[in-house]
Symmetry: C2
Subunit: 303 residues, 2 copies
Amino acid sequence: MSSSPQQTPLIVALIQMRMDDDPQRNLQAATERADEAAKRGATLICLPELFRSRYFCQAEDPLNFELAETIPGPSTDALQRVAQAHRVTILAPLFEKRSKGIYHNSVVVIGQTGQLIGVYRKMHIPDDPGFYEKFYFAPGDLGFKVFETAVGRVSPLICWDQWFPEAARIAALRDADILVYPTAIGWLPSDKTAEGPKQRDAWKTIQRAHAIANGVFVLSVNRVGFEQPYSAGPGIEFWGSSFVCDPFGEIINEASMEAEEILFATIDLNRIERTRRSWPFLRDRRIDDYQDLLRRYGDKTWN
Amino acid sequence: MSSSPQQTPLIVALIQMRMDDDPQRNLQAATERADEAAKRGATLICLPELFRSRYFCQAEDPLNFELAETIPGPSTDALQRVAQAHRVTILAPLFEKRSKGIYHNSVVVIGQTGQLIGVYRKMHIPDDPGFYEKFYFAPGDLGFKVFETAVGRVSPLICWDQWFPEAARIAALRDADILVYPTAIGWLPSDKTAEGPKQRDAWKTIQRAHAIANGVFVLSVNRVGFEQPYSAGPGIEFWGSSFVCDPFGEIINEASMEAEEILFATIDLNRIERTRRSWPFLRDRRIDDYQDLLRRYGDKTWN
């Protein structure tokens, strides 16, 4: 009776990593852990944002552009081998060198035969103290992307994107099953005591809300550990807490705030249809009256 | 240096009520509690959705249209007197009879001189077992509204609206300071054990996320108690839990799940500007690529 074929549950793995100074060692660690995750049964494996390096955006330093690489390039080469060897799907977030002077904060989706399925380029670029990303990254020009993979329809989004309900909604309307947010978020030393718990709680809350509003799975994978920038700066303590939540926003599994780990979760994509039948939000959207979402701001005189 | 005048904190009051069979007694209770809230210092007072009656939408029965009233009408008359007597702003959610056979689920905003400032008509209308609202209410045709009041710019939204990030975003873009969600949400007896905690948690989470995404205060006011429908039906246990949260989604005060109470909270609207300077989400929206929000759904072939 149903036109949706039943799917068997799948195991996802989020690689919560502490980043080394040396990009080569980070790639080595990432491939080893992806390899381990695959051996333990994961078929969708996600790495944190910009996993090849320390979070260099703590300062604006032109030397840091040397950290960028092309797609394809050495990172995709190494991870394509892992994907093909184990027949798994891998999401690899990279500092993409697109051309001379054009750089992006990107995610490459690698399919289970080792093929490059596609690239997402971060659409919402932050810029605030310690997170000077507008200096490094041109805003994504590919739009929000959903990729058909062997494990379902996957939409990669990146860190700051997680604060924008619009991104999650558009991915869901393009039939995403799983939103994945590779992330590099943490506390400035000056903020942690007063604001730390609130910030982390807000970060979890808004991503869980994307799952709820859209009836999709959300995977969020963060780095961990305190990092001094390559240049001067106070440093950032990345808060880990990578998590997986179901289409009603319930946390299925969650990593610690401090430790490196591979976070596993079993997810059943049939839950999406069941959840949306109970809470049919997508049926009732007032698309006739959402035009103002395309504006920066509305004048008070609108009322 | 700032163009935003500093505002003094204000006290808001949410009237969490148990509804009587008799609409007259509900109006009496509402006016008494609004009176009490004002005497205790509140200057913005909000009542729950459809506060004049039991939640009649548990069944589709044409007799229930007799519960509707005009705006202005007896409820606004009574509450305008309270507003004027105490110089307070009141949000009164009513079953609005607009014309012969045209009904809405509405909120009237009453200003501190007792004037009717305006009406919001529920835009997103639910319809699922026990909540047969599409039978009763024509969808709102006034759009999302923000009203200038003596206590700030207030956007009334109603219950099912709370699951739609679009509504909250549009209100914020129209410079709302405070989103208010009068609500009638609860557990069906068949659901409570297995799904109850998840449902209530999702309901809080998504509303807190609207505060976070938009940097606004959110007030949510629910009814409480078990109600048999006027017609046959299993009944609903309304879960109370009315709450106020700040522009970063932190709960300031929260009511119980079972008891009638007036929930007070002191809110400082200057927090909005401060929060948005730290987390400048509204700066970075990709309004050049949100067009698909105006669609019901996107074909897979878009990718």
